[in-house]
């Protein structure tokens, strides 16, 4: 529990200054400086290979910077149990012999600590998280038996069990139907109300515009960060997507066309992080 209480010293959930990450000869992120206030709901958008997954890995403490400084609530990200990371579904071994409840319990491993077993309180938290995601009836299932939407809900339940203050969601809606998407957004509303900071990587610019109060437009460098109408301008989109995308000015503001799918390439830049 303690990790949740020594946050008072910083108003920013995320504070990056001059951050660069390099994979071999390729710069994945270059000179990124950014502050995100606690409790913000941010859509992270940009073309494939823009460094969205790299940014998440950096914030989660999985990757370290080549240059620059990363602070989460005023602290370095390693050993920060308050950060939850919902990975892309295609990065997971769905045949792994674990139940849904086992996976949600993994969110508690950091708090439980070495050489200890889950307490009654841990088990209760896991149960509450399963209840909130309406997954209690699936708790004993092997994870490969779940549908796409249920798989995403399981990882969000794990993030809930972790009692994270910062939640990183890497394309959590890919392959979900509208009903499942709505369910996830109504939960995100609850989390926002509890001052949980949410970063949400997506390819869907309209979704970003409609559902998020801030947009982070990324293309290895920070193109823009701010409210949707200030970020999604023709100039910014052209700067981020370059020749990969056509930007049309419509009555509702600029609309970008092209380069919307391509999840596999996006996964690729994540894969390289681990070699």
């Amino acid at each position: 529990m303690e990790a949740r209480h020594h946050h008072g010293d910083s108003a920013y959930a995320i504070d990056l200054s001059g951050v660069s990450v390099r994979y071999g000869a390729r710069l994945a992120l270059e000179d990124l400086s950014l502050t995100v206030e606690t409790g913000r709901r941010v859509a992270v958008v940009g073309p494939n290979g823009a460094g969205k997954s790299t940014l998440f890995n950096l914030l989660a403490g999985v990757l370290s910077t080549d240059r620059g400084r990363v602070l989460i609530h005023g602290h370095r990200p390693e050993r920060h149990v308050c950060i939850a990371y919902v990975t892309q579904s295609n990065q997971v071994d769905w045949n792994f012999p674990v139940s849904v409840r086992d996976v949600v319990m993994m969110g508690r491993v950091g708090e439980i600590g070495l050489l200890r077993r889950p307490s009654a309180a841990d088990r209760q938290l896991v149960q509450d998280s399963l209840d909130r995601m309406e997954m209690t009836h699936l708790a004993q299932r092997q994870i490969g038996e779940l549908s796409g939407g249920q798989k995403q809900r399981m990882f969000i339940a794990r993030a809930l069990a972790q009692q994270a203050d910062l939640m990183l969601l890497d394309e959590p809606l890919s392959g979900l139907d509208l009903k499942s998407q709505d369910k996830i957004f109504s939960l995100l509303d609850t989390l926002s109300a509890q001052q949980v900071t949410l970063l949400f990587a997506t390819h869907d610019l309209n979704l970003a515009r409609e559902r998020f109060e801030r947009i982070l437009l990324l293309n290895r460098r920070l193109v823009a960060y701010g409210p949707p109408d200030q970020v999604l301008t023709s100039e910014n989109l052209a700067a981020a997507y370059g020749g990969h995308m056509q930007v049309l000015d419509t009555a509702d503001g600029p609309v970008a066309i092209g380069d919307m799918g391509g999840h596999h390439e996006h996964g690729h830049d994540h894969g390289e992080a681990h070699g």
Binding site: G24, N57, V62, R79, F96, V98, L115, G275
Partner: protein
């Protein structure tokens, strides 16, 4: 059974159990072949340590071997990280290099020592009871004591770090984010594999260590979808194979280690064919069932679409199915029989009609 027979079986069971435990994590991490590499390169560790202590009974040999085991892992990763060589090729480059150094050293400087090539490759369990040691006043076979200690180390490591091992194996990213270094857990596991390989080396030789590590885990993987049960089942399969292998060897007057690996391999084959959910037979039966169910649903939808229309009298007839749905007559009859048995379809003089139940099923399939 004589005391020696019981002792040999006991050693075999302990070796199999000690190998099966780390094997589960190797299989789940997709690193099964790393056990092959380590079980060979530990020989270099043994040889180098032997040059230092000049005896084959020192515990230092185990540490030396474990160190070379870890060196194997890190050299492989180093090569792999250059991105010039893939993971499997990196294993294939590193372990023969280290192993051949060991073989050359033995043949050049350590001839006449017990480290002969047959023993290295195959081991000889039958001689294990002759090499004895006194522990707490008990006169026990040396390899039984060594393997029991290694088994206890494996059990302790897995029990103490169970949730971290599970987390780091399933989701290295989250483990890192929570502050548990996946690299540390990885090397801890590889250290276990190394010391287990050294201990098992004497009893079963370097090639069959792989069979004892990988095969029980691969079989257990097919039989359960819980990690705890997979660990337990692996140990049981390994132990069963050990005892079965001993008696198979006696019946054929054959090498015990080879017979153990054979029986464990047969147990794997049984699981591969007949595992309740994931076995070949279960999959084939499920596919067959799905094919019939799909066809039956298609039939119901076909009948629903023409129901109450003028062409129903033509479309909804048995003889029309093979034309319209391109079904072989025998297959069409089979689908119909099943649909009738489940009371989806009624047949009246060649004309087909849906029951309320069949109509419901067709509508459900269409809206899904």
């Amino acid at each position: 059974m004589s005391i020696a027979q019981i002792e040999i079986q006991l050693i075999a069971v302990v070796v199999a159990a000690a190998c099966a435990l780390p094997g589960v994590f190797l299989v789940l991490r997709g690193m099964a072949m790393m056990s092959d590499a380590i079980s060979h390169t530990v020989l270099l560790g043994i040889v180098l340590s032997y040059f230092v202590v000049r005896t084959l009974d020192s515990p230092l040999l185990i540490f030396g071997a474990a160190a070379i085991g870890l060196l194997t892992v890190s050299l492989t990763e180093l090569l792999n990280r250059t991105k010039l060589v893939k993971q499997d090729a990196a294993i294939g480059l590193v372990f023969p290099a280290l192993f051949s150094i060991a073989v050359i050293l033995i043949s050049r400087f350590a001839r006449g020592v017990h480290l002969d090539n047959d023993a290295v490759l195959l081991g000889e369990l039958a001689f294990a009871p002759f090499d004895r040691i006194s522990v707490l006043g008990l006169d026990l076979p040396h390899s039984l004591v060594v393997m029991a200690i290694i088994l206890l180390i494996n059990i302790a490591f897995i029990a103490l770090f169970y949730k971290e091992l599970k987390l780091a194996t399933f989701d290295a990213g989250l483990a890192a984010a929570l502050g548990f270094s996946p690299a540390l857990i990885h090397y801890g596991l590889m250290a276990l594999v190394s010391i287990t390989a050294v201990g098992a080396f004497d009893a079963v030789g370097s090639i069959l260590v792989v069979a004892l590590m990988v095969t029980p885990a691969a079989a257990a993987y097919l039989l359960t979808d819980r990690l705890e049960r997979m660990l337990g089942l692996s140990v049981l399969i390994g132990a069963g194979g050990a005892v079965g292998g001993y008696w198979l060897a006696r019946a054929n007057d054959a090498n015990i280690a080879g017979s153990m690996a054979t029986v464990i391999g047969l147990l794997f084959l049984l699981a591969f064919l007949f595992a309740p959910e994931r076995g070949v037979v279960a999959i084939a039966r499920r596919r067959g069932r799905q094919r019939w169910e799909f066809a039956q649903t298609m039939l119901a939808i076909h009948l629903l679409q023409h129901e109450g229309t003028p062409e129903a009298a033509v479309e909804n007839r048995v003889d029309h199915l093979q034309e319209h749905l391109r079904w072989e007559p025998a297959f069409a009859q089979g689908v119909l029989r099943r649909a009738e048995a489940q009371e989806w379809v009624e047949r009246d003089n060649g004309a087909l009609s849906l029951t309320p139940q069949g109509r419901q099923a067709a509508q459900k399939a269409l809206t899904r």
